[in-house]
């Protein structure tokens, strides 16, 4: 029994990180209709910068945290400026698919030079040693990951519903031209969306690093898994991203238990393909009407 609970718990922990990456996708996509393929590498960048500032430079954690989020957010905004904004409209979706993918690879290349190509040990934030209650394995750091993911989702919800900036971001997605006419500073809002999306992903990186390793090659995997979270949940739907991330985490952990750890990514891919076949709009999402 405890084994089953432990399995579910570890699925939820992994799934929370996928959900955070998914939330990052939604922040960008919800405002700009761009699906940022560098999202996993922002997670990686957050991880590595936290290692540098908190681990190597030994700054107090809150200071390091704020610095990392600001830096990664700024890099996200830079991405919008140099790799998305200058694209001609004629390029269509292929343009940003290619340039955001390329931007992630460039980040990885820079990270390789700075941090090398080996997985690095990350210092503990909260205790990472498990304590057992009736056989159930509890790790404070892991519990914090789940709690933080839910907190970020709640905060985003308040931001989108409760603030003018949040509403402006949503309005922009509907029709950028109309939003601009209503006085929404579309250019600045684009930067904000990319920055915020990158920062959300970075947060995931900081949280997961103590229970895994800080490694410059984790980005692609999270880019893919975060996508599965939102594709299952319905793209643009934050509640869906959480549910999608958690269910992916569960499927992966249970599947790996049954088939073997080496099949983990294969199981995730099959899960995605099956869901797309049966529910093209996601399990929890709402259908969108196409514009003609």
């Amino acid at each position: 029994m405890a084994d089953v609970v432990n399995m579910i718990l570890s699925g939820l922990v992994v799934g929370s990180v996928y959900a955070l990456v998914g939330l990052g996708y939604n922040v960008v996509y919800g405002a700009t209709r761009v699906f940022n393929l560098a999202q996993g590498d922002f997670l990686m960048l957050g991880m590595m910068l936290a290692l540098g500032l908190y681990g190597t430079a030994a700054l107090p954690f809150p200071v390091a945290l704020v610095l990392v989020l600001v830096i990664v957010g700024a890099v996200g905004a830079v991405q919008q400026l140099v790799a998305v904004r200058p694209l001609g409209r004629a390029q269509g979706a292929l343009g940003w698919v290619l340039t955001t993918l390329a931007f992630g690879i460039i980040l990885r290349g820079i990270a390789e030079i700075v941090w090398g190509t080996e997985p690095l040990r990350f210092p503990d934030l909260l205790p990472t040693a498990p304590s057992f209650i009736a056989g159930v394995r509890l790790v404070p750091q892991e519990i914090a990951i789940v709690a933080l993911t839910l907190a970020v989702a709640a905060a985003l919800d308040r931001f989108y519903r409760g603030t003018m900036t949040g509403k402006a971001l949503r309005a922009m997605a509907q029709d950028p031209d109309a939003a601009a006419l209503r006085g929404v500073p579309v250019a600045r809002m684009n930067l904000l969306a990319f920055g915020l999306g990158a920062a959300v992903a970075a947060l995931g990186g900081i949280m997961i690093a103590p229970v895994s390793f800080a490694y410059v090659y984790v980005g692609t995997l999270y880019t893919f898994k975060g996508f599965i979270a939102v594709a299952i949940g319905g793209i643009g739907d934050n509640r869906g991203a959480i549910l999608g991330g958690l269910s992916l985490g569960l499927v992966e952990v249970i599947g790996a238990q049954v088939a073997g750890a080496g099949y983990r990514n294969a199981i995730a891919l099959v899960f995605l393909l099956v869901v797309l076949l049966a529910f093209p709009r996601g399990l929890f999402g709402t259908a969108q009407v196409r514009q003609v």
Binding site: G95, I228, R264
Partner: protein
């Protein structure tokens, strides 16, 4: 200068071919190996070009597909004792199966789904090659693969080089054939507007699937060559980095060009050999250049060369005598209408159509009955639901309620492309087309529903495919003359002014031999002269027996062509009848001009 330019591409190609053929005479084994690697991955790049360059979709799994084919061939030959000539088709079939497996679930959705699914596949291939070590040899891969035997000659050394060259040339020829066939043109259309494809009776999903299938099969061809070129297969030569290099090769070489992907592959698979030791820096520089390239010069090397040549040719060209248009083309525009018995009742009937967007009742219980052979006009103030109604009839929006019938046959619930095939063909307020194709090629897109030859026939340029092409071209020629676009027929559609694009869309819609032609505000934004042109065209179409349903704002045009008038306001029909009667209807005047009570 002009003469030289005109023959430059052929001359350069022949020169390159001569160098490649002569290479074994002066290059050592290492250089031959480099060229073989370039050609092997070049096959995959040529395939990827169909997907990325033409259909503007992205696959990050092209190297993974190549790996699947390479491993299939290797395993069948080394562990099951198959000969090369039976293992090779199996490898290519494996590539095709993967194409279907990844394509079917993802290609109904937005473009980036395929990019993400293939990215996942690239990750999973590496995992599985390690996991299935019993079959794949795990980390160390498989060595000692027997060389293929052709006519008692073992294909190794120079013989292997020529074999790889021949296969690559065949792939080049086949991708070129696809690119210039109706398949290639439909790839280009969905690359810019899958909505336009639907309106022409073409299923965007099917076209995308064909593009991805072709892309995967050519990667399979590269995979068949790889084990013999490299002498082994191992999991790490097919990683994501290689897939990304293939994308780079296509973009750098020139998306949508014939030879560009090979040029790109030559650069990208030779450069790293020279830059080993600077891997990270090389990555950063390469991909920064890539982003810059996409922004500044998305046409790539071969594309830039083509543009430069076209510009110089145009400047240097002696003025050619204009070719007269075909004499009074026989259109048979309404051939299908004539072939079936004239409708006893209305040709198009809408009953109780409803469409709500959130709280907005865009169309709120509309009945409409269109008589055969008439020009039926729907007017109404802005936001009255005209365009939404048209979108409901043609299946671009699913209706919340209502019945739609073409000559008594229900068409509601059908996909947009199926409705177009049934004979309800529309145009768009903002023209949607393939900007890189000429006006005539765009018009020809409308006739693809009648083409029967397969993509395989087009790939091999078989007589059936060529006959289809000739038929399409002949009919497009007639219709482009009919629409008055003869003089601009060979111009890229992207360079045409708005008014001519409208005419082009009408001609394109007529290619489908519609029962009813539905036009969405064809006069919007046009000059009076252009509107006169549209009016003449509508009358000519009507004379051919095609029924016209016209949604229009321009009252001058409406009153001149309308034989029957329906007025919408706030999603409901407020008047319906002969134009003269409707015009004096008080409720219509109220809707357009407003009254005191409306103002209050």
């Amino acid at each position: 200068m002009h003469r030289i330019l005109a023959h430059l591409p052929v001359a350069l190609s022949l020169l390159a071919l001569a160098v490649l053929l002569a290479l074994p005479a002066f290059a050592n084994r290492y250089y031959l190996y480099l060229v073989e690697i370039v050609l092997t991955f070049g096959c995959a790049a040529l395939g990827l070009n169909l997907l990325t360059g033409h259909a503007r979709l992205l696959s990050a799994g092209q190297a993974g597909v190549l790996a699947a084919s390479a491993y299939t061939v290797t395993i069948l030959m080394t562990q099951f004792g198959w000969s090369f000539w039976t293992a090779a088709p199996a490898g290519i079939a494996m590539a095709g199966a993967i194409g279907l497996l990844l394509g079917v679930p993802s290609l109904r959705l937005s473009q980036f789904y395929l990019a993400m699914v293939t990215l996942g596949f690239a990750i999973v291939v590496e995992d599985l090659l390690l996991e299935w070590a019993g079959l794949t040899g795990g980390f160390s891969g498989i060595w000692g693969i027997p060389a293929p035997v052709l006519f008692d000659q073992r294909l190794r050394g120079v013989w292997l080089y020529y074999f790889v060259l021949v296969v690559t040339l065949a792939v080049l020829w086949m991708t070129w054939n696809i690119g210039r066939s109706r398949w290639g043109r439909s790839f280009r259309l969905i690359g810019e507007s899958d909505v336009a494809a639907s309106s022409l009776g073409l299923s965007p999903f099917r076209i995308r699937l064909y593009a991805f299938l072709a892309c995967s099969l050519f990667a399979g061809a590269g995979g068949v060559l790889y084990p013999f070129v490299a002498g082994s297969v191992s999991p790490f030569v097919f990683n994501l980095q290689v897939a990304l290099s293939l994308i780079l090769a296509v973009v750098l070489g020139g998306m949508g060009t014939v030879i560009g992907p090979l040029i790109g592959a030559a650069i990208l698979f030779v450069l790293p050999e020279l830059m080993q030791g600077f891997r990270s820096v090389a990555t950063i520089v390469t991909w920064s250049v890539f982003v810059a390239l996409l922004i500044v010069a998305p046409m790539g090397i071969a594309g830039a060369f083509g543009l430069w040549r076209a510009r110089r040719l145009a400047a240097a060209a002696p003025v050619a005598p204009p070719v007269p248009p075909p004499p009074a083309p026989v259109l048979h525009t309404g051939a299908r209408a004539a072939a079936v018995a004239p409708a006893a009742g209305p040709v198009l009937e809408v009953a109780g159509a409803v469409k709500h967007f959130g709280g907005v009742r865009a169309v709120d219980g509309v009945d409409l009955s269109v008589a055969e052979g008439a020009i039926h006009v729907v007017i109404g103030p802005n936001g009255s639901g005209k365009t939404t109604l048209l979108n409901l009839i043609t299946g671009f929006y699913p209706a919340d309620a209502g019945r739609f019938a073409l000559v008594g046959q229900p068409v509601d619930g059908l996909a947009a492309h199926a409705i177009a095939r049934a004979g309800l063909v529309r145009t768009f307020q903002t023209p949607r087309f393939a900007s890189g194709l000429t006006a005539m090629e765009n018009v020809g897109l409308g006739g693809q529903v009648f083409a029967r030859s397969s993509m395989l026939a087009a790939t091999l340029s078989l007589p059936t495919a060529r006959a289809d092409e000739a038929r399409l071209a002949a009919r497009a020629r007639d219709l482009i003359a009919f629409a008055g676009l003869w003089d601009v027929r060979d111009r890229p559609a992207g360079a045409l002014p708005h008014g001519q694009l409208r005419l082009m869309e009408i001609a394109r819609a007529l290619m489908l031999e519609p029962r009813v032609l539905l036009l969405d505000e064809p006069a919007a934004g046009l000059s009076p002269a252009e509107i006169d042109h549209i009016e003449a065209l509508l009358r000519a179409v009507r004379a051919e027996g095609v029924t016209i349903l016209l949604v229009e704002h321009n009252m001058r045009l409406v009153m001149r062509v309308a034989e029957r008038l329906t007025v919408l306001d706030r999603g409901q029909v407020i008047a319906d009848g002969l134009p003269a009667a409707v015009r004096s209807d008080p409720s219509v005047i109220r809707a357009y001009l407003g009254t005191d009570e409306a103002a209050a």
